[in-house]
Symmetry: D2
Subunit: 448 residues, 4 copies
């Protein structure tokens, strides 16, 4: 198990329908008896299967739409993750490999400049063809060839490509989450408010927010365990941080409503200058997917359109909103290093939130809850290279370094992240005005 304790995905989580597969993934990763070939093949099958299982309730039409430039159509995600294995493994391994359509490389490349021209990202929603059926056939074609690879490749060949497969699987898990958040955005545009999962009402109350003291000092940060990591989690390096206080849980919808009712969105002094400009430009007056009805505030969730639950953690806020809320509350956000330090000091029970929204009292003796798999937590750290960071060679190396500006780091994973994809050194990142991810708020404070 990744953090030494079993995660249990509860019934209200978006990932609940794939929790069995997700748990298998964790077990495979931890199983010392499996060969590399067995591990990779099993994981390949499960990860690829999860992607498709997450789409089970989609109609053909749902796969096609791009509701804003940041969003990609579901069928693009399905094809792009296949293109990854095709391009970085199959085409290299097998000179005879044939793609179903030579234009797919152009259509399903995302930002890998070195691999050739790309179809203009904001226009992904203009493509009715290839059809969803053809995209699934493309997946099958790639899978069949990958299975052939797993069967035929010599051990040294397998080993040579194992890093590519590892990245490909993690890449696909990232796209699983993006696919869910993208579908949520697409559905939210529709007055019919389709739902993807069955809503199970939350019956728990958010506990009192406690302030826990964390000791700083000169310690190490970055990935230092076995297992997969992204280039941006390295090198392991030293940093000095001061002692600080961290909130025991995420901020709830109820607390956020207090901020709103205290004219939070109207008081420029609470905001970063660019943040208030974003408020005015985008006419923000609540988190994304919230709607004011006569009966009160409602929000759209993948479980449908329903009344805002004041006990759930507030989600779909931008960095600017998280920062303004913190200032209003007389607090601040954590740096990503403080977050990582917190994660090192607390033994985690790994209980997972339901619907990624709320879990009231994990590990009550320690006091710290909702660190993993509830919501990505905005930190006040800009996304920058660690000291001594080197951009990896080759096309896959374009992966992370090029995005290291104008973004903020989020930590912890959300209710739409696979368990097996969560770790405490993982650095997610989004621009400060992004709101369509499952992003929430945890507060920190300086020592007095």
């Amino acid at each position: 198990m990744v953090f030494g304790v079993a995660f249990r995905i509860k019934k209200r989580s978006i990932m609940f329908s794939v929790s069995s597969e997700d748990n298998q993934l964790v077990q495979i990763l931890e199983n010392p008896l499996l060969s590399l070939r067995e591990k990779l093949l099993k994981r390949y099958k499960i990860v690829r299967g999860i992607t498709e299982k997450l789409c089970e309730k989609l109609e053909t039409e749902d796969y096609v739409i791009q509701s804003m430039p940041d969003v990609s159509p579901a069928k693009w995600h399905l094809a792009h993750t296949s293109w990854f294995f095709e391009t970085f493994l199959l085409a290299n391994w097998d000179d005879e490999y044939k793609t179903p359509n030579v234009l797919y490389n152009f259509l399903f490349n995302s930002y890998y400049v070195k691999v050739g021209d790309r179809f203009n990202r904001p226009e992904r929603g203009l493509l009715s063809r290839p059809t969803v059926k053809e995209v699934y056939a493309y997946r099958k074609h790639v899978d069949d060839n990958m299975f052939r690879f797993f069967t035929e490749a010599y051990d040294e060949v397998l080993e040579k490509y194992s890093a590519v497969i590892e990245i490909g699987l993690n890449h696909e898990q990232q796209h699983q989450e993006l696919m869910l958040t993208d579908i949520k955005h697409v559905f939210s545009q529709n007055p019919l408010y389709p739902s993807l999962v069955k809503y199970q009402a939350n019956k728990l109350k958010a506990g009192k927010l406690e302030w826990l003291t964390i000791n700083g000092g000169l310690t190490e940060f970055g990935h230092n365990r076995d297992g997969f990591f992204y280039d941006n989690e390295k090198p392991l390096h030293k940093r000095y941080i001061e002692n600080f206080k961290v909130a025991s849980r995420l901020i709830t919808n109820g607390e956020y409503l207090e901020f709103m009712e205290d004219d939070g969105y109207k008081r420029a002094e609470l905001w970063l200058s660019n943040g208030f400009a974003a408020v005015e430009k985008n006419k923000w007056n609540s988190p994304l997917y919230w709607y004011k009805e006569e009966r009160g505030w409602y929000n759209y969730t993948l479980g449908g359109y329903r009344k805002v639950d004041i006990n759930e953690p507030v989600s779909h806020v931008s960095y600017y909103e998280a920062d303004a809320f913190a200032r209003w509350a007389g607090a601040r956000l954590l740096t990503e290093f403080e977050w990582e330090e917190v994660s090192k000091n607390i033994e985690l029970t790994g209980n997972f939130v339901e619907t990624g929204k709320f879990h009231p009292s994990i590990n009550p003796d320690k006091g710290l809850t909702q660190m993993y798999g509830d919501l990505w937590e905005w930190t006040m750290s800009d996304y920058a290279p660690y000291p001594g960071y080197k951009i990896p060679e080759g096309a896959i190396g374009e992966y992370n370094g090029k995005f290291m500006s104008d973004q903020y780091v989020l930590r912890g994973g959300s209710c739409a992240t696979s368990i097996s994809h969560i770790r405490n050194t993982y650095r997610n990142f989004f621009p400060p005005d992004a709101r369509w991810q499952y992003s929430g708020i945890r507060l920190a404070r300086d020592m007095e």
Copy 2:
């Protein structure tokens, strides 16, 4: 027959697949033996059927996409035309009438302000639901109720609603054409260039362009026959026009290429000021759907991607391009009244172009060809009310008057227009920079 001569839709026309139904429509209109009820019911069935037949080759995904704000997804067209009958007939006629979904009125209203709020037009492509299947079910629901109406309505009720049905049928025929041009635009965005119809190569040469003299004077314009007409074709009124000359046929791709090769798109003095601004803003250097390949100019058609045929009439040009071409050629466009006068002076054989592109020698003794059903011909007349025009009462009356600014009139009908929907007083209209319709160029000259 509408113009006294039989139209024959040739094999290269987009409408070829529905030519049999289209000819039936003409015969029904001219059949004096049919009752009003029979006429309306038969026409209703055929028109609604044509709409669906035109979609036969579409994949589900093709129905969903809106490739620019002017374009509507095919499924929107299918639903909106049904909404029309539901709203203006069924809901009035039958107090008990139930729509499948009360939100459809919101989603499928276009610009009928009086009928309620409308879903934002440029966001029609954001809706994956209702699905295509549900939209077809909606059509069936409306059709079933309409058939009930045709069966149950008393004669006087039928008569009362006959005008609404008449408008509804013509409205649907308009949307048939828009649906085709919209699908063409959607497909053109796709590097896979899907085709809708089978291409049949043109083997004919464009004849020599002749100048025919037309006598003007003080004559009458506007609709003055039996049969359906739009409010904008009335009142019948007098105008004085000078004698003038008209070109015997449309301008060909070959002639337009000469203009392009003579730096037509670079010479500001050939253009209206707003026209040249549009050239620079949109980086126009050819008609829409033309692409410069190493092998020469290609264009995308509903029959696929192929080499530009120099004998076909040039299509998909804006008013600005038509005007600039005319200036380059030492000529001008016709006014809409000159066009109507031409149509009155010449006996029409009614031969129809194939693929709406080309017909070399209709009525060679008279010399005038390609007047109907090839391409909509840009006139130099802005779209304005006729003297004494009154906006009709009621929601359907919003129809035409509100668009009477910033647009130019086109006459004649295109290869995507139903025969039964073409007449010589018909006023189509589009903004001067619109290019996604089947719009072409016919020249005129003042007498010396």
Copy 3:
């Protein structure tokens, strides 16, 4: 006198400060005893002098600013009108002629493509240099050389250039009006609301609006007298118009307020589709320069910021607003030909409005007032060439033809137009959303 009767510019007119010079211009035009040379020289001096006199109250800073792309800085107007004489006369007449700065041709060309590249129009306000002083020196330089021309040129040379001078003087008079409307726009941006002229309160009440019947028929339109005209007023040509009714005076602020209070700006059914889109996009809820204060509606005028006078004619409305008001009032606008026909049927006393805002009872026996020099009257005619119109050769020929799309014709001249520049065949034109000109509303009706 242009219309056979003496105009008297009253004290409230913007042009009042130059009324003496303006009257002299009229007298010179009508004086049969003056030679061509004397006439042109005298007129040149007066017209050039008026331009500068209109700027007398400006501070140096006022000359520099471009408050929107349509507006040009005053110093640009001063320079551009000089550039005209330099380019089209001096540089042709005198091979030795030296411009003060070779870049002036680039900076002060407006849209005469054939004369060379032009400085980007929307960036005219980015130029602090040449300074105002240098621009006046440029004017003097051009004037000195023009005086040399008037002294030295042989009669046949003078005659050869007389058309250019004539156009240059009319061109400068157009820019006098634009300069005033542009300054008004610049000043209106400033919370200090500077004023250019002294406000004299209006004490007259608007008379009752009467409907006068005008007989139509087949008559001639276009310029048919001696004296200067623009290419767009020709050829003289026949048109047929129906009998119609015309309002005896312009619509007042008071009447327009009724429209506003009747939710005129909120009722889509009153508007052209593009008009209502403009209302929404620009958030129009009143004429330009109107501001809602607690004490009621105020407007900014060149005479300062003051309470809206309900007796003055409403000004600074777009075509869309004029059209919507007319529809609300159960009437319509005139066509430009109806307007011209009205002007032919009524003997005009030529009394001029004060401040271009209001004159209650000119020619009360005839009933028709405020036809000239109050406000430009929007007509429902798009700006199009007359039948047989030919674009003149040469650079000056770019003048009018290229603007013949997407604009509407206004007739009559405003309180900022020189008397000597007004005539009943004059066709002014602006896009339908333009509001910064002195544009007003006169209603018409069809006969019942």
Copy 4:
């Protein structure tokens, strides 16, 4: 002296015309014999005088223009810096104090939300009034009252306001630099290319770029001396940094040209993702103010339009360009803490560059040159609060904290910065696409 050594501003510096006053400022700051009152009064007079002296060569028109939203007109700078003293001192100190115009508070407030509404920043260039003369009168009015304050205020009152005066003086010095960079931008728009200072040709060659090793460790950062500092330089705090290498001088135009000639602007792999998007959107292919002529690359400087000098340090590059150049060179930028560490390790001679462009060999025995007063050096540190940072109370406290997102820190001061305003803990900051400041490139490298 600020850094213990006398700075000598050389003849090619923009600040040369005020070097005598600037040196006086340094001496006053270091003079232990002066009373607080004497110090503040003397400094007030000199700083205010420098602002006006820098404008000596401006024409009235030059004061008015805003060439882009980031730029403010010179007269706005003159007024805003006066408004600062009026608002934060005079209006508080003297109940009877009268501003010349109550609207000035609205017009000349910049972003101090707590002090009231502000005139929209991008529209500062729309104001012709108050005139330049009136603005200078406003300055005099404020100065007269400030002199009265210096004369009349009791010691404890003086002391109470000394912090406000200190901020006001530093604030004015910041605006001196902005005023110069803004004027440069305004002038650069003008094809006449006005110059503000006399150009003196550089005769020195850039020395060889050396790599110096700096030892890191756990050390302190932030302001820790006497004298003024901004809130963002505090608290003094510990950080751990690794050993690293720093370049001995700034990158030259010649070196940057090599990057350009190696297709630096076309190779996506060299750029941050947002950086390459900025290149494409803004069509960057050289630093700001560079123009490709047939004779080679030219640039506009405040000394006029001239050939690019390959020995001068490259200026007017964005963060994105600095970052891409560094990547191309196999290096990186410094963090702001590395920069500060460098500044602590090297004894500075304080020689200043001429025209802020180049100084080849300051302190050659130590090897490090051009650290202060040449160009602001982009660091790879985003602009964020130091650990424990508290936003100061009150309106002046809005000063820095609110800008702490989406910007990068620059260090060192430029040729347009007053000597007395430079210190090694000073944190300047601009968005990564800003280019109109004097910003340059110093490289760093990790230890191997």
